[in-house]
Symmetry: C2
Subunit: 397 residues, 2 copies
């Protein structure tokens, strides 16, 4: 048993290559096979909600299924905090893991690629900034004005900015109305933001493990805790770290916190119990001697830290803190299917309960579904297939 | 409204002074008034469960009520991770806050000081090592061999060591059998450890917000997260920091994590909602601009970091990780009253459920009581009075 393997990696394959499209390119041809190609579209410029000018803005994405003649069968899939566009399929037949919602997306599945044209998009400021298949603009991208990474100069962004950039990608693909916008966790925040920002384009939203219409104070405070280890790492240097010497230890600790919060006591007890990391180094003998779960979390986090960026982490955490639709919820015309996991310790079920009530108070038609599993937040990815019947019915309604 | 005041301080008053007793001193006289005096007893030497030799070992404590002629009316009160001996009363009439379980301890209260002789004890390696009224041996104490603080040389300790040292204090006070051992959170771990270590002395255990008979893997992993900011602070220097320049930022971040985990969404939403810390510095404009809850947590944690010690923090976290009565639970003869808080996000109610089952499987008579309040772990302190009826009946049984 490899203990690091027992911590869900959530990492997607790095195999494959990115197809670059010209900004004025025609829509590429897509195959319905499970083998997926990462693509990139580049916006010449973009001004953030807070007024910062960015450009050029590459956007990474990938597609499954075919766009129909009427161009009205598209479903946009938006990812969670640590995710990428890779929602389904495999980049390479040998990839061990498929995209994060592969159980929901594919031929004959709830999001049926024989019927729908499905688009997964990297968020602006994607966390996996050092992943070879993540090409969206991040603080690790070169600033054309300086020919150095944006780094600490990358502006604060909001979920609003993520969806406005995605809107430009859809324009490029010739899509003026979606069948649905869907996503887990931060992806469901993006999905509701889509419905509020572009109400005419979004008739349906499916969100899972995603809280409500604004980030609550307790989660705001948690996001601060996630960031704290990065700020304490002396290599962080207020964000002005060189790409070759990043605040790796702080970023690893931050990723450990995220991973642990997204899992559960049931998971931890079943896999690790009270085993020491090394029987020859009992935890009771030295402060440094670890339990098995500690070593596993550290190993996974350090592997992930290789592909992620500390400045991107801080901005994504801020974007989630700033998420707030309270003044715009009345604009939503979509109907909503909202899915929760009973054992979720990150997006506590009570957030969703209050969020659903807020949506209903604003006149939004909301259906709910809850998973009784014990694995915590990540069951919204690992057991997403259990939402299939509800989601299939919802997409047909 | 002072926002730092809205984060429970959990700090006890620093007013008053410590009465030192000779190692062979006779039991001091106690008053039943609410004014409390901190006391200290010193063990000449102590060898830890892992074989480290320590000495002298001062032990801080305080008493409420009178020891009876039969010397059989004593109740030992053991504190939580960040607590001290100050369970009830006030050191000084002007103290704003009373001891943490004052609602349960006093004349006519559930732990009736007109009837019981109540003893609160600082844990060995108390976290509040820089608090003027905490005198128990900690890593900040002078090592008589070097005349410098123990610091990084302080050994790993276990909950077992805490209770063995307490046993010596009771011997000094002439107490050979207790009426009960009680405590919240880490205090309830100590209470069960007492019942397993000295079964003939402990007929009753009352534990609140305290998990089960061994720390589970998920909590082990959380304790690692608590410690991570300290290890990242460059001033930590592997524990070899000078007392005048400690890893203050790392310790503050660690204390923020503890505080947040011990509170709840309901508390956060009610007091802070989505207010910015400063209306002139909106969080959406700069990464550094904070929400109100962030500033409040930081302020409280920094105040607490002034009184606490990073090396003590790491060893207490380790002691809780190492807590494990599975091999000794059969020794327990006490009956147990086990109290939980439904909204507890630190000691999840499921830990207690499993713990109660483990105790019952070992033949222990366990009653349970649960608070339905929404304030999280700390409701086990803030609303402890709600356990009064159950506890009163239990202490009479």
């Amino acid at each position: 048993m490899s203990s690091t393997r027992d911590v869900p990696t959530i990492l997607t394959s790095t195999s494959g290559k990115v197809l670059q499209e010209a900004p004025t390119g025609r829509e590429p041809r897509y195959t319905a096979t499970s083998q997926v190609q990462k693509r990139a579209f580049t916006l010449d410029q973009y001004t953030t909600a807070s007024g910062a000018h960015l450009g050029p803005v590459p956007i990474g994405y990938e597609c499954y299924g075919h766009l129909n003649e009427a161009r009205d069968n598209a479903i946009l899939v938006l990812h969670y905090f640590t995710g990428t566009s890779h929602a389904a399929g495999r980049y390479h037949p040998d990839d061990v893991e498929a995209g994060y919602w592969d159980a929901l997306i594919g031929p004959g599945r709830a999001i049926d690629t024989d019927r729908f044209f499905v688009i997964g998009v990297d968020s602006l400021c994607n966390l996996n900034a050092r992943h070879p298949l993540v090409v969206s603009l991040t603080p690790a991208s070169l600033d054309p004005r300086t020919q150095r990474p944006y780094g600490a100069d990358f502006p604060v962004i909001r979920i609003t900015d993520m969806v406005r950039v995605q809107r430009e990608l859809l324009r490029h693909l010739g899509i003026e109305r979606l069948h649905a916008v869907v996503g887990p966790s931060m992806g469901s925040m993006q999905a509701l933001e889509w419905a509020a920002e572009f109400p005419d384009l979004v008739p349906r939203v499916f969100g899972a493990i995603g809280g409500g219409i604004a980030t609550e104070a307790y989660l705001i405070a948690w996001l601060r805790q996630w960031c704290a280890p990065i700020l304490l790492d002396p290599k962080f240097k207020d964000g002005h770290y060189p790409p070759e010497d990043p605040p790796f230890d702080g970023l690893s600790a931050a990723l450990e916190l995220v991973t642990l919060t997204a899992l559960s006591p049931e998971w931890a007890g079943r896999i690790f119990a009270r085993q020491p990391a090394d029987r020859k180094l009992p935890p009771e003998q030295k402060l440094e001697n670890l339990f098995s779960i500690e070593r596993a979390l550290a190993g996974t986090a350090r592997a992930r830290a290789e592909l992620t960026d500390a400045n991107a982490f801080l901005r994504l955490a801020k974007a989630v803190q700033l998420y707030d639709l309270r003044d715009r919820v009345q604009r939503i015309r979509a109907k909503v299917l909202w899915a929760t996991v009973a054992s979720d310790l990150l997006i506590l079920p009570e957030y969703s309960t209050r969020g659903v009530q807020d949506l209903r108070n604003a006149g939004v038609n909301v259906e709910t579904v809850s998973l009784p599993t014990e694995g915590g937040h990540l069951d919204g990815l690992h057991f997403a297939g259990k939402f299939s019947d509800s989601l299939r019915g919802f997409l047909n309604s």
